[in-house]
Symmetry: C2
Subunit: 341 residues, 2 copies
């Protein structure tokens, strides 16, 4: 989709919760040569893990007195405001950086006034690796801010001829060729999150999350389950208590709304998600499959990252970044990314 | 509050997000000799960190073929169902374990029928370290399930004379002496979460969370801020972009509702929380204090764990367990637990 723009990989937030190091190594093996992280710490960790062969850009840029660390680890800072430009040029000239101009997100990046001042009175020369901006409403193709940000960015990039221009992250790529410029910064789309909410996901689901059943319990009609006695059984049934909870990032806002799958059968989440446990109604499942030690599929082909997000009242990005440290992360070669049920 | 019951410390979920190892070491130095974790992995990690001097109990108990690992690491399993009892006695007799009887939570623990069968036909002798149960509605003192669980537990414990009985976790301790039995299992209360929701918190706030301001931006009236152009400024103002986001556990459900404090002044969260960033209205703050590199207090004396939970539509427990790996955790000696502003 990005072609002919260069596609950089965003692996901040520990590779969207999936493990920045194995994700970046797999992408590097696939030809990716440019990575974006959010913080200096993330940049240092990634540099140590993947060696010198790739560019690593740090979106938050330097705080005061940290520019030397960027240089020591071969990191490219994104410079978001005049103070960061000053911090960077204080390290001498000739060190590449990325310039961030704001075009309507109002979060990070030079304001129009600051950008005009930079063009009129350039700082000591910085070899700009790229000029970037960020869309506020890329997941809403009809939003008028998209076109106005694109126009502002086109005008800004024209003031820096010969510098690679980059406006779009995952959803922006899908707004069409006019949004792709020279470089795109794919994050969520790499991990299968739907970049076009409300329309069918053009990407494959790549994350599968399972948890083990600890106990199966026969519940009588009228008995309550879990904290606050929040769920009362309408009839007798079988309840599976599963070793996953909100401390694992199985968000508490999924309570009463989420679900899992056992042997391809939907099992509704019952009551409230606990810190380390959740309960599912497995009455409809073959008892040979719903037994202690068996697994419940929490994310996968039947119930994807965006499905869980909808039930939790959030976005797929948060479902991924919330995935906790107690999950064992197992990486499959591409041919087995979606293991059979 | 627990006196004369023994008080065990619950340090599962990485010590409720705060760091199980330093938390357990501090509690051990203060005299705590019994710890509860949720999983075998957590038990192994804690044993390696704190040595042999304390008991470590594992709430989830063994899965098939993991009992030997409990023995190897000196862990006491909580046995929640007949299959786990069988797994444990398969390792031979004489190994201590904790028996969990369900009294109305319907999540883990022997059912009344299973418990009666155990008493009538005892398995090979297990030196029971304790018999425990768990309250479903302890945070709601008026809920009738509390008294019925207490009565059922009293009756069950009477069938195991001489064995330490434990019903209450943090909120249960505050239901009164009748709920304390021989052993209590304090978790959230150790970390300052209010154990009596709706009433003043009798505990001190012990967690302070700060994040750094990356950029200060002058916003004109009518300009939008952040994703989805979700916040539109009613008048001109100053917005601080801060290096904290939902990937740090600053839950996305805080969007438009949360706040921070700068120099003791409340700064409302504006628009949506991003993955790595959040924006705050700092128009009311002395500009000398609202500058890049300065800190915003996100949890602390002004805005505690329970305040953030209320704004996020969750409970303080999740605010703590969500705290992400990018935060630098700094531990203070008791005298400086609440550093002055």
């Amino acid at each position: 989709m990005a072609d002919p723009a260069l596609c950089a990989a965003v692996v901040k937030a520990n590779g969207y919760g999936l493990g920045a190091v194995p994700v970046a190594r797999a992408l590097a093996a696939g030809g990716c040569r440019m990575f974006f992280v959010a913080t200096l710490d993330e940049g240092i960790g990634l540099r140590q893990a993947i060696g010198e062969g790739s560019e690593i850009a740090v979106l938050n840029g330097p705080f005061a007195r940290t520019a030397a660390e960027f240089l020591a680890h071969g990191l490219i800072p994104v410079l978001n405001h005049p103070g960061q430009i000053e911090e960077w040029t204080g390290q001498g000239t000739g060190h590449p950086a990325i310039l961030h101009v704001d075009t309507g997100m109002a979060r990070l990046g030079l304001t129009a006034r600051e950008f005009a001042a930079l063009i009129d009175n350039p700082p000591p020369p910085i070899p700009w690796r790229a000029v970037i901006s960020h869309l506020a409403c890329a997941d809403d193709p009809g939003h008028p801010l998209n076109e106005s940000q694109r126009a502002r960015f086109t005008a800004a990039a024209a003031r820096l001829p010969g510098i690679a221009a980059s406006l779009s992250a995952s959803s922006g790529i899908f707004l069409g060729p006019a949004y792709r410029f020279d470089l795109v910064r794919a994050g969520a789309a790499l991990y299968g999150v739907n970049p076009v909410p409300g329309r069918p996901n053009p990407l494959r689901q790549i994350v599968r999350l399972t948890a083990k059943i600890l106990q199966i319990r026969e519940i009588d009609s009228g008995e309550s389950v879990g904290y606050g006695a929040a769920h009362v059984m309408a009839g007798p049934g079988l309840v599976a208590t599963v070793a996953v909870g909100y401390a694992d990032g199985w968000l508490r806002s999924l309570s009463r709304r989420g679900c899992g799958y056992v042997g391809g059968v939907r099992v509704p989440l019952l009551g409230r998600v606990s810190m380390d446990l959740a309960t599912f109604d497995v009455s409809a499942v073959d008892p040979a499959q719903a037994r202690p030690g068996a697994t419940v599929e929490l994310l996968g082909p039947h119930y994807g990252v965006d499905d869980a997000a909808a039930d939790a009242g959030t976005i797929g990005y948060e479902i991924l970044t919330a995935l906790g440290a107690r999950h064992h992360r197992v990486y499959h070669e591409p041919a087995t990314t979606n293991p059979p049920e």
